[in-house]
Symmetry: C2
Subunit: 432 residues, 2 copies
């Protein structure tokens, strides 16, 4: 961004203005979190349905705001990939509205009795789901994330402070206005979903310092964002790291399933975190490789292989160790021969990112071993790694895929944006 652009940017402000503005956003969010936490399931459903209606009713506003984002981004040179992530059209606006309705239709995650028991002394103990409180969500350019994240936070009774990608600022602002309309019409505080009102990057640092105001930070972005958050913030994080996903073709794989699944796992969409980046092939399944590689090549995939793969198909580029460590997010696949399921498990343990990994095999014992021993948030048998998605899991929508060890791990939907507390009902018990 040039200095000239910065000066003209209507969303910049002085450091002290930003400080006090962020403090005020935090104060309003805490207040809203109390109201949201006690809101009935019906009022949250009404807010989400009304927000969906508002998105449809404001389609023209939203598209105009998006056109402004595209124009400003275009002035700075816009790649086709960024344009695709950023651009809205009537179909995408309708998908955003439908997504809010899908979240509305989910079971209410708050107040669920997760488990309960009675102690010998008569104390009755319940573990009950409650909201997290105030969630700070920091994400990149896709405008639909604004609606998904805001909607999921609302459904789970949390207040959200959203810091979207600066490229989608006006689009996000228009969407948050629709969400606010939904909240208002349901008698819930608009401050339950607030957008940081500036593209100034300093706002991220201020959010990370809002310990005691923001309860949880959810960074959804590249490794540099996640690292910054983990380094700077003392607020607990739900981390979404990279998806260095593997598909392993076992000796006992069904060749037709293997072809179909590998092609889908790599090429259906190459830019999502559940896309397969490394194909592992059992040495005893080498004969399946030519057909698999032919499919990928026909679909426009660049292939990189180890020497053993190159001996089968000299048309590949040679792969180096760096390839085993790379999340391409592109039409590139690294191919590696391994010694059976043991070799696959070892390779994944060494190079994987604990996100999503799949085995293709008809041998049940081998499948169960892979499921047990691969230490990833999602482990699949005979299915595409591209199913690593909250929607595909039946969660309605997702904020992302958590790759941290502590819960929530895997897809983060409304249920995963809750925590719990213990309710203990006695009749006068004292501890001996």
């Amino acid at each position: 961004m040039t200095t000239e652009t910065l000066v003209r940017d209507p969303t910049t402000r002085s450091g002290s203005d930003l400080n006090s503005e962020m403090a005020e956003i935090g104060r309003r969010a805490r207040e809203a979190a109390v109201a949201l936490g006690l809101a009935s399931a019906d009022s949250k459903i009404a807010a989400l349905k009304n927000a969906a209606a508002a998105v449809r009713g404001r389609e023209a506003d939203i598209l105009a705001a998006n056109a402004r984002d595209l124009a400003e981004a275009g002035a700075q040179g816009l790649s086709a990939a960024l344009h695709d992530r950023l651009a809205l059209d009537p179909k995408r606006v309708e998908a955003i509205a439908a997504g809010l309705e899908a979240v509305a239709a989910l079971p209410d995650p708050v107040g669920r009795v997760l488990t309960e028991w009675t102690r010998p002394n008569g104390l009755h103990i319940q573990r009950v789901a409650v909201p997290l409180g105030v969630i700070g969500i920091i994400y990149e350019s896709r405008p639909n994330v604004t609606a998904d994240a805001g909607g999921l936070a609302l459904k789970s009774g949390n207040a959200a402070i959203l810091r979207g990608g600066s490229e989608s600022f006006y689009s996000s602002r228009a969407l948050v206005a629709a969400l606010a309309e939904g909240l208002r019409s349901a008698g819930l505080p608009e401050a339950a979903i607030q957008l940081v009102p500036t593209r100034d990057r300093a706002a991220v640092g201020l959010m990370l310092a809002m310990s005691g105001v923001i309860d949880i930070i959810v960074p959804r972005g590249g490794p540099s964002l996640i690292e910054r958050v983990q380094r700077e913030s003392r607020i607990p994080v739900i981390a979404h790291l990279e998806g260095l996903c593997h598909t392993y073709v076992d000796a006992a794989a069904d060749p037709e399933k293997a072809r179909k699944i590998v092609l889908n796992a790599k090429m259906r969409r190459v830019s999502i975190c559940g896309a397969t980046e490394t194909l592992l092939v059992d040495r005893a399944a080498k004969t399946q490789l030519p057909a698999i590689l032919a499919d990928l090549r026909a679909a426009g995939c660049e292939l990189r292989g180890d020497p053993e793969v190159l001996a089968i198909d000299p048309g590949l580029e040679p792969a180096t160790e760096a390839d085993w460590r790379t999340e391409y997010l592109d039409a590139i696949l690294a191919v590696h021969i391994v010694d059976g399921v043991e070799g696959a498990i070892q390779h994944i343990a060494r190079f994987g990112s604990h996100h999503t990994d799949a085995i293709i095999t008809e041998d049940e014992a081998t499948a169960e071993r892979f499921l047990r021993e691969v230490d990833s948030a999602i482990v699949l048998v005979n299915a595409s790694t591209q199913f690593a998605d909250g929607g595909e899991f039946g969660m309605g929508a997702e904020i992302g895929i958590s790759t941290q060890r502590l819960p929530p791990r895997g897809p983060v939907g409304a249920e995963q944006l809750t925590t719990y507390k213990y309710l203990v009902r006695g009749t006068g018990q004292v501890r001996p």
Copy 2:
């Protein structure tokens, strides 16, 4: 500690020795975590039972080690409270062994299917409990924590790196030797439970920097330890902050229950995190106060009250706002008059530590409101706050009470030392 003591301390070493020693401990822990994560329930039970037997068999060694700790601590001046926390006797050694057997008898927390469902496309999804990995536990002087923490980590399939209080170093070392004997006899790696082999405080800093080796840090200690951990470490934390617990006597309280519960909640043991620190009394329940205060005074409790309390009983010390913010961990109680359950909820929201709070009332609607609106890990009705304990919850033992918002929240036992992963079984599904 004087320089002379430092020089004589057999557990000190040079910085570079400590660095390489900690790295080696980390390497062994990671290896052990893989084995423990895949260990059968039976082998973990055998290890725990054999460890209990080893504790009993090594009673003389353990008491001799404890005598050495007491002697060294005594040379530096040992308070009665610290002596009580630190000292072992045959009865306490037996309690440690029995505690390991209680953990052995718990249901195995690993491999539980937490929930499962089938998608319309036929994919079957399970959320299954798995160990966290390598847990670093940093705690203070009580030697029994070494056995509890080691035992719970083992039960939940984790490897543990224990950094105990320096005052209990030799006691902990003797207990870890017994745990190692249990592991060995069950064919499990001894490195599953390792004690940091030095009292050098630099070891804590090294542990906090072992990102990628230690998966979770569990600090169990005072606020300064917790703050240091949250400031220094990029490793996720299960935080145990202070317990500023309240008991609220409602207008509809049964006077006999109120007397009995308040006395127990404050005075049963004053030094535990579940002890009540502030008594809140409904203005409409003032008449109950004299009897409650008389019981407390008879038990040796120092009482501090607001002006309204002093008007009822001028024998109290005046309380200031600082009292509402103080976790005494001593025979001192702050007493405050509030306006009904609403006033109690507001006071707790402002001054509480989200740990444990109780209401005493016979009015069900008031009780339910308190349960719903008080935002603490544990909320009780008509029972003593001193039940805030994993053992009292039926968890066999606990590492502590988590006061963080993200799970695990509340008592941390074996089940809470697990996370989960998703197992997805398909028949060739690809994503449309």
